[in-house]
Amino acid sequence: MKIRREGRTSLSMLKRGQRAKVIQLNITDKALRRRLLDMGITEGVVVKMKKIAPLGDPIDIELRGYELCLRKADLDMIEVEVIS
């Protein structure tokens, strides 16, 4: 676990209904990173944790007026700053 600044966490740690601003994508896999960028997860975008699958994973987030489902393992690599 990396040491993070105050208020910073990974996207997978958000609670239902919480909003956060994306700070950084710590993803080495080029194809995956591009895919996430293409889907709108760019630096500074505000995302909201919307729904959790009944079995706890994946997670549905809201951004840019639509909803996107991602696995916790991938959300782990997205660093965010919690807004509310």
Binding site: L36, L37, K51, P54, C69
Partner: protein, 660 residues
């Protein structure tokens, strides 16, 4: 004039395409790949329109996006018609910013305006048009609103040519301007951006002069340029959005309310099971079974009528036999479950268009992830209960290569509609009252085998690879009758075409092999027919699961390669030759298939269920897996496993019979 239709998945692109072209469509594949290629002529014009795959971007990482960008970049395209979902403009415009970089005029069809209106999303179209320097037409493909205007605009040629472009920050725009004259292509701006992104497929365009500019940029930004460009594009879109789009925020939409039920922690799985039960009740269960009987009666009637007609006009016995025992019996066996298949297609189409299918993928991903598959694998598995061919093709939506390959190899294990007649026949005769239970047990068996095979493959063949899951969760939509009717008819028609071609041919071949001996004498005893000769060789392979050297069962099973329902068709043809009992269960009362017991019946079902699928599905596997070698591996894996399982089932079953 040639128009390319481009848009995100779920943007209503297909509905618009059907509306613009009517019945004037051709379906084929893109050169070299199996991704569907649809071409049509716009009504009232001679303009050709090409429906590109639903995509989110023009990146080099997915097959669909690659095809689309190669087409747009390399081929002569006069106009791009970009369909945008008005309820999620931001993400949709991201693709638009990439399309605008090509030297081709773009018209934006702002689709689903009816829903956007209801939700209180307002557009300042004038500003939006000015900012993007392109023509925008608000439409609703579903309600057919303003589509006529769209056609008129295209016809008259009254649209903006998007000449002004300034999306990125100053440094980037400067670099693009410097690169543009250095590349030799019509689409200079597009290519300039690609080389800055360090796009792998455009590396050949990078000269020393260009390299210098790009590496200068990289030094300035100190970040990955692909990311910088994506960030810049979205930054620009946000700016445009703030200026021209007004939306109410944070309303609890109908979708959220429905998801509170359908994705509820306790209710999700029971609701899913209930829905799946409904699907099988209607398609495979009592309702579907009833339709089979009705059609069977009709075809039987047709056979008799044709028989007496041909005899009356004085046709020779072998000609009568060819038509009645060969063609009608063979093709008829397949047509029997066309209604059943149509019911299944309607239900699957409903699940897809309402948005529920995506939910299933979402909440079952956890389970599939455990065994190395994706929640998206479920879509092929469900579609596979209808037909493996579209199912294998639908595996394309799985982002991860390993998960995709495994899904393709395992999809044929799902009892497809063509395997249903085999199950219905054997379970109905040998298990009587418990036939429903036995059919269900086969589905259950299939699921267990799929999950355990996946688990083994993941841990042996593809060890240590991680994968990801990216799925847009669409809003719930009321199904459109027109769309579903179109979708179902297209699929049903391709099924009928197959029955009229491959199955007809196979039926004639079987009839020929069974009716003649090697001296080409007609009307020989069935035991000395050519078919019996080949079957006798094969029967040794089937002995361990049947407990009997049966050439008839062996050739019938092999014919599953042509089409699984042909197994039953062939058994019916062979049994018809050896007995003339028209009533009761002709197949198992005939001497030739009389040896079947409950154990060998179940084993035979298991073999047919898991062994290599029909040629159609093998072809689909070949194309989706990419190489013939991988296809052979898949086929051998499937057939080998089927044989082992069937032998196990037979011997365990026999043991139980002895004990009881």
């Amino acid at each position: 004039m040639r128009i390319a239709l481009v848009g995100n998945q779920n943007s209503g692109k297909t509905t618009l395409f059907n509306l613009l072209t009517g019945t004037n469509q051709k379906v084929g594949n893109w050169p070299g790949v199996t991704v569907e290629r649809k071409i049509g002529i716009i009504r009232g014009t001679d303009f050709e329109i090409i429906d590109l795959p639903g995509i989110y971007s023009l990146s080099p990482y997915s097959v669909e996006e690659n095809i689309s960008r190669r087409f747009l970049f390399e081929e002569q395209v006069d106009l791009i018609l970009n369909v945008i979902d008005a309820t999620s403009v931001e993400r949709s415009l991201y693709l638009t910013t990439q399309l605008l970089e090509l030297k081709v005029p773009v018209i934006i069809a702002l689709n689903m305006m009816d829903i956007a209106d209801k939700r209180g999303i307002k557009f300042d179209l004038e500003t939006l048009e000015k900012r993007l320097d392109t023509t925008i037409l608000p439409i609703s493909a579903l309600k057919k609103t303003n589509v006529f205007n769209l056609i008129q605009t295209i016809k008259i040629g009254d649209y903006r040519r998007n000449l002004y472009q300034h999306i990125y920050d100053h440094e980037l725009e400067e670099a693009i301007k410097r690169i543009e004259p250095l590349v030799e292509t019509k689409h200079a701006r597009f290519l300039a951006v690609k080389v800055i992104e360090r796009d792998v497929l455009f590396q050949s365009y990078v000269t020393d002069a260009i390299e210098k500019i790009v590496s200068e940029l990289e030094k300035k930004y100190l970040r990955d340029m692909e990311q910088v460009i994506a960030d810049e594009r979205y930054r620009y879109i946000e700016m445009v959005r703030d200026e021209a789009v007004e939306a109410k925020k944070d309303l609890l939409t109908t979708t959220d309310k429905l998801d509170n039920i359908f994705l509820n922690r306790y209710l999700a799985i029971p609701i899913f099971m209930l829905i799946m039960f409904g699907v099988y009740y209607l398609a495979a269960g009592p309702v579907g079974g009833w339709t089979v009987e009705v059609v069977d009666g009709l075809i039987g009637g047709l056979g008799e009528w044709m028989n007496s007609f041909l005899v009356n006009v004085g046709a020779s016995p072998w000609a009568v036999s060819l038509v009645v025992d060969g063609m009608i019996a063979g093709v008829g066996a397949m047509m029997n479950f066309l209604p059943q298949l149509i019911i299944l297609f309607i239900l699957i189409s409903l699940l897809e268009t309402t948005g529920y299918m995506a939910r299933i993928a979402f909440f079952l991903d956890r389970i599939f992830q455990k065994v190395g598959l994706s929640g998206k694998s479920l879509i092929p598995f469900i579609v596979g209960s209808g037909c493996s061919v579209p199912a294998i093709m639908s595996a394309r939506t799985i982002n991860d290569e390993t998960e995709k390959k495994m899904t393709i190899m395992l999809t044929p294990f799902i009892p497809c509609s063509a395997k249903l007649p085999i199950i219905t026949l054997f379970a109905g005769y040998f298990f009587g009252d418990r036939s429903g239970l036995v059919s269900a047990s086969l589905y259950f068996f299939a699921i267990i085998i799929i999950l355990s095979s996946a688990y083994v493959m993941k841990h042996v063949l593809f060890k240590g690879k991680t994968s990801s899951f990216i799925l847009e969760l669409p809003e719930y939509k009321l199904p459109s009758f027109r769309y579903i009717a179109y979708d179902v008819l297209t699929k049903a028609w391709s099924f009928i075409e197959r029955a009229g071609s491959v199955i007809l041919l196979a039926s004639i071949v079987v009839w020929f092999l069974i009716s003649f001996n090697f001296k080409l004498q007609y009307g020989v005893d069935i035991d000395s027919s050519m078919l019996a000769f080949f079957g006798k060789i094969l029967s040794y392979v089937f002995y361990p699961m049947l407990g009997e050297l049966s050439w008839a069962a062996s050739v019938s099973a092999i014919q599953g390669l042509v089409a699984k329902e042909q197994v039953v068709g062939s058994m019916a043809i062979i049994a018809g030759y050896t007995s003339d009992v028209g009533e009761g269960n002709l197949i198992f009362n005939s001497g030739i298939f009389g040896f079947f017991t409950a154990s060998s019946a179940y084993a035979f079902m298991v073999f047919n269920l898991f062994s290599a699928p029909c040629f159609g599905a093998i072809g689909a596997m070949r194309q989706e897996l990419g190489t013939t070698k991988r296809m052979w591996k898949a086929v051998l894996f499937q057939t080998g496993l089927a044989w082992i399982l069937a032998v196990l089932v037979f011997n365990i079953g026999r043991l139980i019979e002895v004990i009881l």
